[in-house]
Symmetry: C2
Subunit: 345 residues, 2 copies
């Protein structure tokens, strides 16, 4: 029976949703997988850290952070910094959820390297270490007999990497095409219904899926980093977001969107990559799609991707909003949870 000691590095919405999900599924994990767990270390961005190799009350820490309080008094020990906490909290499994750093993947890569060197398994929702550290960190994990997984980095927490890893063994991926950024897809859907670009962006900011500075979404950077992550992992080829040819949605005018609609078409921010001999060509750009495309039906905050392999017809995974449930921390938390169960079971 695996009893797993958990460390949380980064304790924002996603990590706190994960604590709640783990508590909700605690009995089921014990009954179906014989997995039990305790939390021995938590490092937050702004509310201090707590550490106790004999076990912390993670829910108490969630409540403290959500009440704006420091958590340091909730652990028996204190850590000088994140690396110190990783080294001394006695965990077997680390969830890395610090803010993404698109250009270097730091400090997440340092956290993950330290955890793997301590013999922990690691799951992260952070795209930085996938794009900037996948090959190094995977090799390090392997050398320690551990795993480094990151299901939540693309398509929210929905199964994608694990589908390839577990469900499509020995498949050769020729190309993929999809919609990977929910925010721009929602903006375009709202503009089709007559809303201005500015109002659509504002709406996305109000519901919390776009940042105050929407550059990362509307200029295609978030989509490009996801394309780079998919190529790096599924095509086993290091690829940076900078190598992705990238055009955002800023230049799409209401007139263009209206004219597409009149022709029964829609603009989508399409992500694609394909092998071309030894090279891989990758692109994020607005494209006109018609009703015969699987992308046409992905409206509002839906995202999805179609894979072209040597072994199956086109295989698509789509994640669609249901009663407004999309892009939230619960969804991302499930990807971390799935990694945890798959590694530990």
């Amino acid at each position: 029976m695996p009893h797993v000691k958990l460390a949380f590095i980064g304790f924002g919405n996603v990590a706190r949703s994960l604590v709640r999900l783990l508590e909700r599924k605690r009995t089921l994990l014990k009954e179906n997988y014989d997995i039990t767990f305790a939390t021995t270390g938590i490092a937050t961005g702004k509310h201090g850290s707590a550490m106790d190799p004999t076990g912390l009350d993670a829910m108490e820490c969630v409540k403290a952070v959500e009440a704006g309080q420091y958590i340091s008094s909730l652990g028996r020990l204190t850590a000088t910094d994140n690396i110190d906490l990783i080294k001394n909290c006695g965990a077997d499994f680390m969830f890395e959820n610090t803010p993404v750093n698109h250009s270097t993947g730091l400090p997440a890569i340092d956290h993950i390297r330290a955890a793997l060197e301590m013999g922990m398994n690691v799951s992260t929702a952070n795209k930085g270490p996938v794009v900037h550290g996948y090959h190094e960190l995977t090799a390090l994990a392997k050398s320690k007999g551990k795993r480094f997984l990151f299901e939540s980095t693309v398509l929210g927490g929905a199964a994608l990497f694990s589908v390839f890893r577990e469900a499509m063994p020995a498949a050769d991926l020729h190309s993929f095409k999809g919609i990977l950024n929910a925010t721009t897809n929602l903006i375009l859907s709202r503009m089709e219904r007559g809303e201005s670009y500015e109002d659509a962006v504002k709406f996305c900011q109000n519901i919390g899926i776009a940042e105050t500075d929407p550059t990362n979404d509307v200029d295609g950077w978030d989509a490009a980093i996801k394309v780079a992550a998919l190529i790096t992992v599924l095509m086993d080829t290091p690829f940076t977001p900078q190598q992705v040819e990238r055009t955002g949605i800023r230049d799409l005018t209401p007139e263009m969107i209206e004219s597409a609609k009149m022709q029964g078409k829609r603009y989508k921010l399409v992500c694609s990559a394909e092998r071309d001999g030894d090279k891989i060509n990758a692109r994020v750009a607005p494209e006109l799609v018609d009703a015969s495309s699987p992308l046409y039906g992905m409206v509002n905050s839906s995202t999805g991707v179609t894979f072209v392999t040597d072994v199956l017809p086109d295989y698509s995974i789509t994640v669609s909003e249901r009663e407004g449930m999309r892009g939230g921390p619960q969804e991302t938390a499930y990807g971390l949870f799935a990694d945890f169960v798959n590694i530990v079971k």
Copy 2:
């Protein structure tokens, strides 16, 4: 390094495609998974059987069957029947691909039981033993420390059961909805383009995806058995095709289809199931869907299913034809291959 001895019970198009796929991926299986394999038993429906615990030339047997020849002279030993072959061929892994028996699952269940009792792992493309024997055979496999898998039974060989099993652990499935029968979907798409029902059925028979007697497809039996298989496995509740409320497509007139088209809608043979307290309600029936439904875009021989769980927004898997590649034996063979790799690796 696992060296696996294979038995093929049933040696039709699917099994022969599987032999070809295994040969094509032989080097990759060795390099990426350290798996090597040999074939020690083959039982055909009409071309005899061949057995040799030290190894047969499976490709030679494929060629013999395709040339209309008996294969018995290609093995060192002969078997009196399929069970005798299973018991004496010395295999570790059985692929069961005899013709489906919708009402009892026999004799496939007997073959699988015998193989599991001999300590083999088993993969089948046959829906009969899933609907009629899943719980018994899974328990038997578990008691022997072996696996019984059946990825190819629904959505061709595309990953579906393994997505749930491996990629969505501890998810609670509330309901699902989809298109599971490619033949009726192709018939409906052709009728939308103005073809008569009779000509559309004939087309499907000519390309080999509909039987001479199309009852099984057009009356919804194939869809119902797949619904029953999904409920049995993913909702862990024994369910028979007879329990599925079932209406086929025979009563859809060209006028109804044309009138739907005028309203921007399409008829689809929709498969659905949902939990209702302790009960499960399941249905196969023509439904009108509009462009806002993910089913609307599934045209021709595309199939797919949307899952509603407690942990993610709506999660859909779709398999679409590509250059006519759909529903063929290569696709089904890949599901068996994926089971093999996942069990043995």
